[in-house]
């Protein structure tokens, strides 16, 4: 009896310790970025263009650039991913081919992001001739988040109880009516959660936009989808590896990192909020 008690206690402490270590690193990252970054954050930093070789002024073009790239990526990836998920879940005949397709999509999610970057450069920048631009970057980011949007949408669609579909069919609805009016609205919170989490991912990625959209410095703001843009993650990378005033640039890089963290946290918070709200509304 005593021996078991000790083992039980030891196991408990081990598990607790693991959790604490994880929390420690999370806290340390946040603390570190916050302490180093907060110093440069000001209204000017958020709203103005960089000046004097990045050492003064703000990073507004990078914030805006990240915003454009992410919106563009969602604009391409959401309709395509949702349509693909609907086809796979609702229409395609259940067969081993379907399993292979699903497996391929899951594998796509595991492809390193720099590979997407190279692909984007080869196809969108050079072959289609979009150049290094918001359009090329958005399309590349869309490729990157497509698998997660498809998976999230598939899961959300599968989670819609079969009994609701049956109820709809029994009232004389066609399959398309059932999908459009019952299945998608019921699955929407799950789909949106997937989308929002993808937004966080797309906002933070550097490699896919490295060769397709981002530039270290640009005078003023982008004026069309064919402009190259500054973006927060690439800006951090550039500040830490290029330039002539490393001591000043490092502080600014941490400032950008903090902004990026806050943006992603806000987006994830929104996802959690929507999920909670829908759970209540849909009673599960």
């Amino acid at each position: 009896m005593r021996k078991n008690d000790i083992i039980q206690q030891a196991g408990f402490i081990l598990l607790l310790l693991s959790t604490l270590i994880t929390l420690f690193f999370l806290g340390a990252i946040l603390y570190f970025v916050f302490i180093r970054g907060i110093g440069v954050i000001s209204w000017e930093f958020l709203t103005e263009v960089p000046r004097r070789a990045m050492t003064q002024g703000g990073v507004a073009p990078a914030i805006l650039g990240t915003f454009y790239l992410v919106m563009g990526a969602i604009l391409f990836a959401l309709p395509l991913g949702l349509a693909c998920a609907i086809y796979l879940c609702e229409y395609s005949p259940k067969s081993y081919v379907l399993n292979i397709i699903r497996l391929s999509i899951n594998n796509l999610a595991g492809v390193p992001s720099v590979v997407f970057g190279l692909f984007g450069m080869a196809v969108f920048v050079n072959y289609f001739g979009f150049g290094v631009s918001i359009l090329s970057g958005s399309l590349t980011l869309a490729m990157l988040i497509l698998p997660s949007i498809i998976s999230a949408s598939q899961e959300a669609l599968i989670a819609v109880q079969h009994s609701l579909r049956e109820a709809s069919f029994a009232l004389g609805a066609t399959q398309w009516q059932t999908i459009k009016k019952i299945v998608i609205p019921t699955a929407l919170p799950g789909i949106l959660t997937g989308v929002i989490l993808s937004v966080g991912r797309a906002a933070g990625e550097t490699a896919p936009i490295l060769f397709t959209a981002a530039t270290f410095y640009k005078r003023g703001y982008p004026d069309s989808i064919f402009s190259e843009v500054m973006a927060l993650p690439y800006h951090i990378f550039a500040l830490m590896t290029e330039g002539t005033h490393p001591e000043k640039q490092t502080a600014i890089a941490y400032g950008c990192a903090l902004i990026l963290l806050i943006l992603v946290t806000m987006v994830s918070g929104l996802a959690i909020y929507i999920r909670q709200k829908s759970r209540r509304a849909y009673g599960h």
């Binding site: 259940k94 109880q161 009994s163 609701l164 579909r165 049956e166 109820a167 709809s168 069919f169 029994a170 009232l171 004389g172 609805a173 066609t174 009516q177 009016k181 019952i182 609205p185 019921t186 509304a281 849909y282 009673g283």
Partner: protein, 273 residues
């Protein structure tokens, strides 16, 4: 084979004893066999469903009663790897025939399921859904149908002040009556009940049974149940099924008092099941 005529809708509220005496066959099956993959679930079923009467299908679990009722509105189309032999007829038209329109069949033959399955929408939207998918957009007409079907389903008084609340906020019994109302709203001619009280408490069950008896005046009803008292209370005809076969079919009082088959008697007296 009996005569097949549809009672015009406008006459539904008048004395229907004439039609009751005539016993029109509304639906019937002919040497019906049904397979899930290689497993045969129904064997040579021949049954008549009479116009404006209620028919109960009873039998132990796994006897095929749910499978049979789900064939009447082609719900088993949704189950992969199934095969039908023989015919199922609605007004003498084969519902699985090449000319059959499954949407039209399901509109004529409505269904209420084992577990209440309201849409996660408002009460009002649940009821208007069936009309809207038919392309009906007239708001006054929809509203009238919504009220009418709620009244017929004996739910109006309980929900009239919260038509725009989420239907999932209703109790289980109310949800099931809402599902009945939703079914009525599209004006079916036959209503299939697949163990409608299986997940309900005795009070909610009593209300649903009362409602089903009331609905017999307007609709042709088929009800699957494993509750023999329920069958005897609500139905005029009873079919007893066992291991995929239709053992006995006839007037409910005859089946329950003087069953012809030994199996029926054993089941009714609780020897198995």
């Amino acid at each position: 084979m009996a005569i097949n005529t549809v009672i015009p809708k406008k006459n539904r509220n008048i004395d229907d004893s004439f039609y009751r005496e005539m016993k029109f066959v509304r639906m019937r099956t002919e040497n019906l066999n049904f397979y899930y993959g290689k497993k045969q679930a129904l064997k040579d079923i021949n049954i008549n469903i009479y116009q404006n009467h209620s028919t109960a299908i009873i039998g132990p679990s796994g006897c095929g009663k749910s499978t049979l009722i789900r064939l009447f509105n082609r719900m088993n189309d949704l189950v992969p790897n199934t095969r039908i032999e023989g015919g199922i007829y609605l007004d003498d038209k084969d519902i699985n025939g090449p000319k059959a329109d499954v949407v039209e069949i399901r509109r004529k033959v409505g269904m209420v399921f084992q577990k209440p399955n309201p849409f996660p929408k408002t009460i009002y939207e649940n009821l208007s859904y069936g009309l809207k998918i038919q392309g009906i957009n007239d708001k006054t007409l929809i509203e009238q149908k919504v009220v009418e079907s709620l009244q017929k389903a004996a739910l109006w008084d309980e929900v009239k002040d919260r038509l725009h609340d989420n239907a999932l906020g209703l109790s289980g019994g109310q949800q099931q009556r809402l599902c009945i109302a939703r079914c009525i709203a599209v004006e079916p001619e036959v209503i299939l009940f697949d163990e409608p009280c299986a997940s309900l408490d005795p009070i909610a069950t009593a209300k649903i049974e009362e409602l089903i008896e009331e609905l017999e005046k307007y609709y042709t009803i088929v009800i699957v149940t494993h509750n023999m008292q329920q069958a005897s209370r609500v139905s005029e005809y009873t079919a007893f099924m066992y291991l995929g076969e239709l053992i006995e079919f006839g007037k409910t009082e005859k089946i329950f008092t003087v069953p012809k088959e030994k199996k029926t008697e054993e089941y009714l007296s609780g020897k198995f099941g």
